[in-house]
Symmetry: C3
């Protein structure tokens, strides 16, 4: 018998790590100047006349949308399994709450450690970045949903956030690639990280829990809550940290259009895949989102409205075909069990997004962007002020590769750690079952309608006869 | 047997129309100056000192609220049927995604085609207007919910958006009526459009699917998600495209108050309608929203806080009475089968809203609005700078009539098209059933509690004896 | 037999109170200058150059988040009971809609009645405050959930809002305590108000409705919708009415961090409390929110990021332990039946929040806040310009006591009124049952899977033999 008792490990991990967070925050984290009471002086110094120019007002609405995507979006998207909704929403809640704290530290050390004071100064943009970082780990959770313990998820998140901060530093700072919505940094990395972990944790006898796989009617509707909040708020996701003004404006428009296009082609392919043209909820719940992933890099570029539609068009097709053809292949041939199909929703569209980003960057021109617009969009300043768009395209492509390498190598290492027999993961026949880690009330008595209870009674009487 | 196979039609329509969208967007749609990289120059030219004056920051939070209303609000409001929740949320998702693209084109051609370049320049306000336009079609969907195929819905949306753009052009541009929240343009038009289509598609034997009508406990709670998101975000809906500053501020306050008042009178009438004073979920889900509809035109006016409460007061009464008395009458006498009761939630309150708008416009005065305030609120500039408030009231009423005419005549024509036997609509006995267009997993085995499975087993044994 | 017929009382209360609201609004309530058409002149007078400086843009996004917390957050959090979800969401909707109107009047009379005109001028900040005031009453609803009639809830809200406005006036205006997120004013008051009412209404035979207590699988997922929207938007709640600029910015950051920390310790204690380390949904749904409550007072202070984490750390522990140890004690020994455990989610964390606020205020210093920052944060202006931080700490503690006294004494009085046998409250055996006040459709026929229907048929045949 497998031991799934986590009464020792889970509380210990939660307490120790949370205490570590408190200590590290005490040492390193401070308010940035726009969230500090000294802003009244900073403001005067910077000739800011109105409080509305505080970055809070540029970014807070987008931040809240992103926050909803992380907790309701990812959480509910994974409730589709008939008896793993507690785990889906609840563990998502747990690992995201830990992950965002750790992300503030890791991203702070790599991106914004003040050399003079040795402190990390945080503001609303840091919170968005922390949520983004967590998204990478939640994507990975999708691949192993139902097959791991909450302790394993926390370990996955600890290493996931760490790896994320490093690859992000390499891609955004060293290579100076642009990736505002994280096609590469978030989705490609998170996708391959999760898939590789799932591959290392391969369970040959997973069909022993076949009865718990798949959805029921109501669980599919719950999952649509996740889908829709992700879909609706994706324009905020891709525009949350882009440049003030036209940058945020354009990224939101592009993502809005791209996602609309994805819905139509997803429906088309889903309908084509069934004999009588019926639609499959799995496709509607997932592939409709692929366009948002694929525009993560290019959303802030002048990809033009019809360009956004084209990206969405192909992503809907590719992602839905992924669910139909590639997922079964991955499972049978490559031994990758991908519960939520993150390969089709994040990994593939993420790679497409990286490529789209590289091409559109390489094709950027002063005639389209304007002289200053080009400099602003690609941040051709400081060390990078002489970079050409063609070079930029090359670095974008290099960034793409970095994210894949980090995902695969990192996933292999972390997967190996997670194979240790100390984490309390479920037996093959108990996967996808909330009973393992949750107090689930018995519903038998309540859910039997009176008329049936009567029948039961009659049956027993008959048996007695 | 009726043929509900849509494996050919649905994919073809989705692909062809989406490709048409891409081509038309390529030809016509461009970023407006506030979402273009050239904004850095435009800004300097217009003496704008801070990025925060980009229209994005005035309207994006409202846009996202409206977006939630369209996809989660309308989608979940229609999940109340016991076995049509996939169709409610899923087809809503599909037609809205197509509709918003087509709306950007249609509204662009009519309202903002640049004569010099022949292009349509879009920004965040265009996205809101596209969502608004889609709302009209989703309202119409409510009347035919469960009785049409997704292909029919797409056709309804294609023509609905087209008609919408034309009536909107006549009402807002030619008549110069004000209708920020769309009492006339959105709700009256959408309501009568849907009702007339439903009248043309009358199914005399619809009671053959009686077992599928009505709700179950959980489906009513899902529907409340839709209700609440519509109710909470309606202040954003009515203020999304009103004037910057006090216009948006006032529209939000008025709608907030009006909707609160509606809830109390809805509850009162619902309770009065039952012998023991019990409440009916249908009323709570729908009539509580009537106030938002009815304030669509007047929300930006100086209707005063108590005026908003009065509008809400009567709308709650009238809408709930509609569900109790008028809907059965419409079905029996006028042969209009209105699945969601859009007559009570959109058509009637929309007409009330148009009337309230006409009266409050006609009663506007410089003493209340201030000289400049009056000009700003009713946009008495350019060709209309000599218009009096009384004339304005008349044009508002004329706008009301235009929206009804477009709804009824347009609905009759489109309804006739939808009667063609090529669209794969369900048979009378299969209406309101997701099985027709969706892969619905069999739940029998899973949902039977173990004790019953045992009984079944026993029964079969007994039968064998 | 208990009479639960509310066909007379509920409509009468709704109609009469709503008409009273209309009259009082007509007499007292007007648009404030930023939502009035005269703003065009006011603005010119105040040298405001851009519409974006209208308070609407500082506060509307936060307002909408708070609005979602009130209607979806509180409403769905209480849907956890297996058959009281209509009552949870529906009555929450009703009382909040009445309460916010009454709150605008009560808070207006006490806080912003213009002495010259005798009018109350409202804007977006008033709407937020009205929602806050309603929150106090909805907290109280949590204690009596399932045991009272909607008429009783409306009476509770009428008095609750009244008491709230008075205690708020004493605490914020007379004592000049700071309480932006309402640890004292909202949560402590609301918590003790509800608990005392529940104590007065003690039902010794409540176990007669034991079959209706507790949750089922799906109701627990619905409740998580409430939990997550409360959790995600709490940073908006605590920052909604703080100072423009750094005040709002800092309050949001602090609350975000604090709540993340609470999740980890809640999970830890929940897991510790079960033999095999399984988690309990009751804890996850409720205790994860305690950190937001406890930071209500101090969120706008320079409590520093690690300080916020520490508050969250202890609140998760205390609140979860409350569910495990204190709630059963309260019920058995003190005869307080607390359906939702508001003592653990609101009352205790509210008191902690008051204490944290008093300590952090007393410990504030110019070196941390800056000279002007200190004055701004604690509003040491006018009559209070000579107050020291130590004195401020004392007044904060005094405010804490005022809120408890108002809760307990007010609750005792209102509870006595609610014991009158005229309100139509349910019998002990019908508590927690939607059937009492709602039309609930019979699901027996529909929910029986076909195979079982067949069996029923067979059984009946057998019986006939």
């Amino acid at each position: 018998m497998v031991n799934t008792n986590i009464r020792l490990t889970l509380p210990v991990v939660c307490f120790v790590w949370q205490i570590a967070m408190i200590i590290l925050f005490g040492v390193f984290i401070r308010y940035d100047e726009e969230s500090d009471t000294h802003w009244v002086e900073t403001k005067a110094h910077d000739n800011i006349t109105s409080d509305i120019e505080n970055d809070f007002y540029f970014r807070y609405p987008s931040f809240q949308d992103v926050h909803v995507m992380i907790f309701v979006g990812f959480g509910f998207l994974m409730t589709f399994l008939k008896r793993y909704s507690f785990g889906a929403v609840g563990f998502n809640f747990l690992v995201a709450s830990f992950g965002l704290q750790w992300a503030l530290l890791m991203q702070g050390w790599f991106h914004s450690l003040d050399p003079q004071t040795g402190k990390i100064f945080i503001g609303v943009e840091s919170l968005i970045n922390a949520d983004f970082c967590v998204a990478g780990c939640l994507i990975a959770y999708g691949a192993v949903l139902g097959k791991v313990s909450p302790v394993q998820l926390l370990v996955m998140t600890l290493f996931g956030v760490t790896l994320f901060a490093v690859e992000e530093y390499i891609i955004l700072n060293l290579l100076h690639a642009r990736d505002a919505g994280g096609s590469m940094v978030i989705h490609t990395f998170g996708g391959y990280y999760g898939l590789t972990i799932s591959w290392v944790l391969y369970r040959p006898n997973l069909n022993q829990s076949k009865r718990m796989q798949g959805s029921v009617y109501h669980s599919d509707i719950f999952a649509m809550i996740g889908t829709l909040f992700l879909w609706m708020f994706w324009p905020s996701f891709n525009s949350a940290i882009t440049d003030h003004g036209d940058g945020q404006h354009r990224a939101a428009i592009n993502t809005y259009l791209c996602l609309a296009s994805t819905v139509l082609t997803t429906v088309a392919i889903s309908s084509l895949s069934q004999k009588t043209g019926k639609l499959d909820m799995v496709h509607i719940q997932n592939s409709t989102l692929a366009g948002g992933v694929a525009l993560g890099t290019a959303a802030e570029f002048m990809i033009s409205p019809y360009g956004a539609l084209i990206v969405g068009f192909f992503c809907g097709i590719i992602s839905t075909m992924g669910y139909i053809f590639i997922s079964p292949f991955l499972e049978k041939t490559l031994k990758i069990q991908d519960t939520c199909g993150i390969h089709n929703l994040h990994a593939m569209p993420g790679v497409i997004g990286g490529i789209v980003g590289a091409i559109t960057a390489a094709a950027a021109s002063e005639s389209v962007y304007g002289k200053q617009g080009l400099i602003n969009t690609f941040d051709f300043t400081g060390d990078f002020k002489d970079r050409t768009v063609l070079t930029q395209g090359g670095y974008q492509a290099a960034g793409m590769c970095v994210s894949i390498v980090f995902g695969v190598v990192g996933g292999a290492i972390v997967g190996s750690i997670l194979r240790l027999p100390i984490w309390g993961d479920p037996a093959d026949e108990n996967c996808f079952d909330d009973e393992v880690y949750w107090e689930v009330k018995e519903e038998h008595q309540e859910s039997i309608p009176p008329i049936l209870e009567y029948n039961n009674h009659m049956i027993h009487k008959q048996q007695d006869l």
